[in-house]
Symmetry: D3
Subunit: 188 residues, 6 copies
């Protein structure tokens, strides 16, 4: 039964408004236990000539890219070893934290480090969770299982993992990785 009205300056695409429709619906449902179909979101596009702040008209800010899409694209490029494309998605102060090693800043370092651990790895996704933090960063979680080949040529699969990404200005600023690789090896 809750109704959300969003007033924004005209200029967002259908897809961007769709994202707003979903995220505002979920924002309400975070507190109010309404079934989704009882939450109505109405977006009021305001022509820039109809919006004034301090008596001055304003232009709409370009929408942020969908942070989940950024992460999916990055993971796909990493999987395809398209490192040059993947690197373009990273902020200049990007940091990644993998299990059992110091923080790394360069995809090249990651490659070297991984080369000692497995000769091939692939991710099967179980789910993504994405949200805006109170700060500037959007947060994207990706979880699922890893499969691949150890450096000794033996195979593995079904190893649980979760990645946490922070995105600012459409660039990935941080990646934190947890997984059961060590657990699996310990049990092997």
């Amino acid at each position: 039964m809750p109704i959300v009205e969003l007033h924004v300056i005209e200029g967002y695409s259908t897809q961007e408004k769709q994202r707003l429709g979903v995220t505002l619906t979920n924002a309400v449902r975070f507190v109010v236990p309404a079934a989704p179909e009882l939450v109505t979101v109405v977006i009021h596009d305001i022509s820039d000539q109809n919006y004034y702040r301090g008596g001055k008209s304003r232009l709409p800010a370009r929408a942020k890219q969908d942070p989940e899409h950024i992460v999916r694209a990055f993971l796909s490029e990493m999987s395809d070893r398209a490192f040059e494309s993947a690197r373009k998605r990273l902020s200049s102060d990007f940091v990644m934290q993998f299990p059992g090693t110091a923080p790394m800043r360069d995809l090249e370092d990651l490659r070297s480090w991984a080369a000692n651990r497995y000769s091939r790895i692939a991710k099967t996704y179980e789910g993504f969770d994405a949200m805006q933090s109170d700060g500037d960063a959007a947060i994207v979680y990706c979880r699922g299982t890893l499969s691949g080949e150890w450096t000794d040529g033996s195979q593995f699969e079904g190893i649980r993992f979760i990645d946490r990404f922070e995105i600012q200005n459409d660039l990935i600023t941080r990646q934190d990785v947890w997984n059961d690789i060590a657990e699996t090896r310990a049990q092997a």
Copy 2:
């Protein structure tokens, strides 16, 4: 510059409206790159005698508890070994998934399993992320480091962990845990 108006039936507490204020602000900022102080949220409390659906007045649904509070309380009770209290926060179909073991449904099973791994453990929190999923569940992530004592009496600390919780109807339905314990032991 975006303005969000939320119309809900009167009856939510100041704290619940504060949560709506924050979550709606972040929902907008998930798509629109506005600084937080440029996002205005106005909540219109509608007296139940002023709201009609199908010509009938309606009562407001009781707000959901803050899922992050539920998780913090659960973790605190587990830490204090207040298992009876902790158990009351679990849904009847609760499942938990820890590294290197099969899914467990009972806190007693967790205790037995853990007893073989460490004699004492404590969590230091680095951050929580909470959001409503598209489905019924709210998702809460908690990450930080573990410290404690192995079963051989030696100490550990600074071991990275992340927990993912699903909450429905104010009860925890699922907990997934990842950490670097095995990695740490392998390196030890």
Copy 3:
């Protein structure tokens, strides 16, 4: 899915707002084929100190009485032969039009005229329809069946009737009556 917002100056009772909730819902459904429970009506009570027309605050007009209630009360009083009470519900220019006679203005005339037709009559209601006309008058229809006793002492029942009332300023200005009495007598 339609949403109606009504802004009125504060001062209407819960019952009056309930009537507005129903009548606005039906107004929308007169054109838009929405199921009732998909029509939301929100009434915004505006404190008289928050409403200005021509820069001047205004007082709310007292609500009209429910015209269907006025008609029901009038019919009940007529049935109870409480003519004095019934007469207070009539406008000074009240006219009534019954089958087969000239327009009458006085309940006394009606009594005399009816005395030649039946010695006792009662109405069983099948339904009321009430609405505001484009003009000043509200219209109320009442339909059902008549039962009673002819002047010769024989009984009748199930004779179809319909009454149409016009109400202005909470007073009945006009009553038009149609029924199957003559038809029934012709067939007798």
Copy 4:
């Protein structure tokens, strides 16, 4: 002074919105004794890409036909003996109730029945009243006078009548007729 805002998904014609403007104005005036020119109705057309329920965009439902137009067309076709056209306006469960006869379901039955009563009949309209009921049906009343020729060739005119119609899904489901024909004949 009341202000009505209606939010609907874009797609209604000027004529359909005009009907909403009138019916919402009258709905308010059914309770609030405001002169018509003090009731403002504002319709907010919401682009389907700006409306979300349950996070999903929706298409507007096609407007209902004006039920008064349906009844006027039906009566005109009946008057012109265009029975085939008239029949298309009837629901499959259509019932009509005329004075002094059992309910009829077929226009052919009506013709046969009427042939014994008059050789020609025409309606002069004094007024129509139309409204949405609380249920699915719209209600249309039509009243005025009948003129024509009895089966014996004599003429009649000025006989009061009223018809009540129920319309669902743009089809007539029910017609109830009252008139003074028997009264007139009895007095003849």
Copy 5:
């Protein structure tokens, strides 16, 4: 933080809406001590087919001309001795009141009167203030300094002046003038 929403029938130009944006912002700031950039004005253009008063759609009234522009143009035409153009900006009941003389109604009278005072005069503007009065007239103030040549050929400059104009129906109905000419001459 105040938000102003203005609902008007569609048809005003960008420039007219810009004027509304500024004047509404200042109207709020006349009472609420908000910094200009914290006052948001949103104009809702309502298509004439979406606006009904008394159930009838309405056409937007043509905007008033900017009264400050009218005054600036008049003053410029007077300065250029384009009296024919200037005269077209005056209402038929125009009155002007200058220091030390009776009210005048005709620009020709002003010319004759001024010819005895100075042979040439020019205005340097320091500022304009414009506002709507509670009545029909808009008020425009113009202040600054006068320079020119006395009838004896000597020069003057820096003489303070202020003009007050009333504008109705886009025509100047009244001009009141104050200045320090006499003061200056007295001191000379």
Copy 6:
């Protein structure tokens, strides 16, 4: 026909809202040629617990005093020679500009200067105009006529004057005065 909705945080007095009602009405009428009684202003008081900017609730700013009241009080105190009270209404950087003298900053200077010009003076008001400038200052104009006694004991009256005041933070920062005193004396 225009409708203005103002959303402000709850806390303004009836009188302050009355001022907003008038000033917003006039702001609209500055551009739109609507009769005052066709301009509706609705103020939505938003409880501070229902208003969030940047996810934080806010307190309403205390309303500005009515600048016309400040000027009227100041003029009244000056007239009553209540200089101490009058001085409290002046900003620390107050400047006043009278005809034929340098700018003055102190009421004492004004007194000395005036003592050479007249022994007694009183103002009869014809009208006040007040408005918010685009900047921080409110502007108040006061015009009318002066009467009193010259230093030689002779009387004067009907001398036109106009004062312009600037008010910031409820204090007068500037007073500019024009009048026909010199003109009158020159003609004497």
